[in-house]
């Protein structure tokens, strides 16, 4: 769907966008994450033809968009959701209908479908500028999807939303994008958002792409230190909640069962995040209050600043940070059998 090659743009002395190669598949949800000033929005602006790169080729819909003359009909096949909703001083209904009217269509049924899909049909006749932040974001998203775009650019569309509301909206968006077979390019500073939404992720910094891969690949085994520094390296695994007592959920991850404190419900598909500093490694099985204790084999040990980064296999891939002192006293080496433990409260679950 999107093929970018050798794209460069000098915006200032200190910033230069330089993307050697980036391919995004048809119907894929692709995220670009990175700190402020990484060049994420610049990339979206080039793809929307708001900015011209100095060199490069961008093939979208089978054509080099940088060389085409009919900008309007290209723009009418895509949608761009900005981080602020930018609504018009008009009713919610008229705001959502705007893209259709601009295309000379006026389909009330499509507008109503969108209002329903984004749960804003009750607000239909309200002035869009008098809504709450969350409602405004819904209107802006409904407006972006009403024209049935083949490609959607999302520039931190959840930036100003509360966490709980954000997670709910993201799950809905993912469902809508997947159901309608839309290709989406999502840009964010927040790795949890990217994890929750994307099929693949790229990490960007200072105009360059450091890393591309599935969420698991990027988050568990980043190939560069810079990428790892930004994402704050973590264990990421996919699982499903199959039992819940009070708030203690049992999550099946590959062949293992992990116990986690979470508000989520049974049968939810989840992503399990375990921070390496929360994992305790011991030589022998000890009595502990931690709910999760597994036997594991050390796959790899690597010096990581003041600590060691230890990659373990406990039925799924797991990372642990161990101080140099502990490493010395435990005398750990690769292929050793050890026990690892972590608390049920130390794990973060993200709804998929």
């Amino acid at each position: 769907m999107i093929e970018i090659n050798n794209l460069t743009l000098n915006l200032s002395k200190s910033f230069c966008l330089d993307i050697k190669s980036l391919h995004i598949q048809d119907k894929e949800i692709f995220s670009v994450i990175g700190p402020n000033g990484a060049g994420k929005t610049t990339l979206l602006n080039i793809l929307s033809l708001f900015e011209n790169p100095e060199t490069g080729r961008v093939i979208i819909f089978g054509k080099d968009i940088l060389k085409q003359n009919d900008v309007l009909s290209y723009r009418r096949r895509i949608s761009y959701v900005f981080s602020r909703p930018y609504l018009f001083n008009n009713t919610v209904e008229n705001n959502v209908a705007m893209p259709l009217r601009l295309r000379g269509k006026n389909s009330e049924s499509k507008v109503n479908e969108m209002l329903k899909l984004f749960k804003i049909e009750d607000l239909k006749h309200n002035n869009a500028l008098k809504l709450s932040q969350g409602q405004m974001h819904r209107v802006s998203l409904a407006r972006a999807f009403v024209s049935e775009p083949e490609l959607v650019f999302l520039d931190e569309p959840f930036l100003s939303l509360e966490r709980l509301y954000k997670e709910q909206l993201m799950t809905e968006i993912r469902k809508i994008i997947k159901n309608r077979g839309i290709t989406a390019l999502f840009v964010s500073q927040d790795q949890n958002e990217a994890l929750c939404l994307s099929d693949r992720i790229a990490v960007m910094k200072e105009g360059k792409i450091l890393e591309i891969g599935t969420p698991e690949q990027v988050f568990t085994s980043p190939s560069s230190k810079e990428a790892a520094d930004f994402i704050g390296i973590e264990t990421v695994a996919e699982g499903i909640i199959f039992k819940k007592e009070d708030n203690l959920c049992s999550v099946r991850v590959k062949s293992k069962v992990i116990q986690v404190i979470s508000e989520l419900n049974v049968n939810e598909e989840v992503i399990v995040l375990i921070r390496p500093q929360d994992v305790v490694v011991s030589k022998h099985k000890e009595k502990t209050s931690a709910r999760n204790v597994f036997k594991a084999i050390i796959i790899h040990i690597e010096s990581w600043g003041l600590e060691y980064k230890v990659r373990l296999d406990c039925g799924f891939d797991l990372l642990a940070f161990i101080t140099k002192q502990s490493m010395k006293s435990l005398k750990l080496k690769e292929k050793d059998e050890v026990f690892i433990s972590f608390k049920a409260t130390a794990i973060h679950l993200i709804k998929r």
């Binding site: 929307s48 708001f50 309007l72 723009r75 009418r76 895509i78 949608s79 761009y80 900005f82 602020r84 930018y86 018009f88 001083n89 008009n90 705007m98 893209p99 601009l102 295309r103 002035n127 500028l129 008098k130 407006r143 024209s147």
Partner: protein, 232 residues
Amino acid sequence: MDFIFDGIKKAIELIFSLDRDILDILRVSLLVSISATAIAVLIGVPSGAIIAIKKFPLKKILISLINTGMGLPPVVIGLVISLFLFRNGPFGFLQWLYTVKGMILAQVIIALPIIIGLTVAAFQSVDKKMYLQIIALGANTSQSIIILLKEIRLSVLAAIIAGFGSIISEVGAVMMVGGNIKSQTRVLTTAIVLETNKGNFDFAIAIGLILLVMSFIVNLTLTYIQQKNRRD
């Protein structure tokens, strides 16, 4: 002091007696200034929008020239237009000198920089991303101007009010281009100058009062439209 109070008294009598001369002056004034404002709006608002939105070389210089034009003395504009419209001048063949058409032309030229300049400022006050969002929704250039115009209609109305205010009250240009011919090109401001010079203070005060009231009514109407559209 007495002549002032006498003047005001007689003026009120004149107004309520619907004096023929005064009605003529009022008719010409309204015709000239409203037509000139309408033409200046039709040219000025779209031009201002395009200047604000499009990127082109020397844009900043053009905007500073327009801003300079906002302060041009009407009498200088009157002089230049008269020179162009004189029988021997480049546009003498139009035979517009000392006609209502010539006066409208002069007033359009006075109002145009004000309306363009304030429209440019109004469009440029919009967040650039709002404009990008409109384009991203699939709008072509004219559609995006119309959508933006709706968003900034209050500021554009302010530009129109300022444009009308500048020409209903000016005297230099209409005097030079119109010639102050009774029942034909005599307007409120030129009539006040003439009657004051003749010592007819009552007539001058009466016309002055009408000018104030008319200016107030037109501005009140525009302001009413403007404030009605304001979101609270």
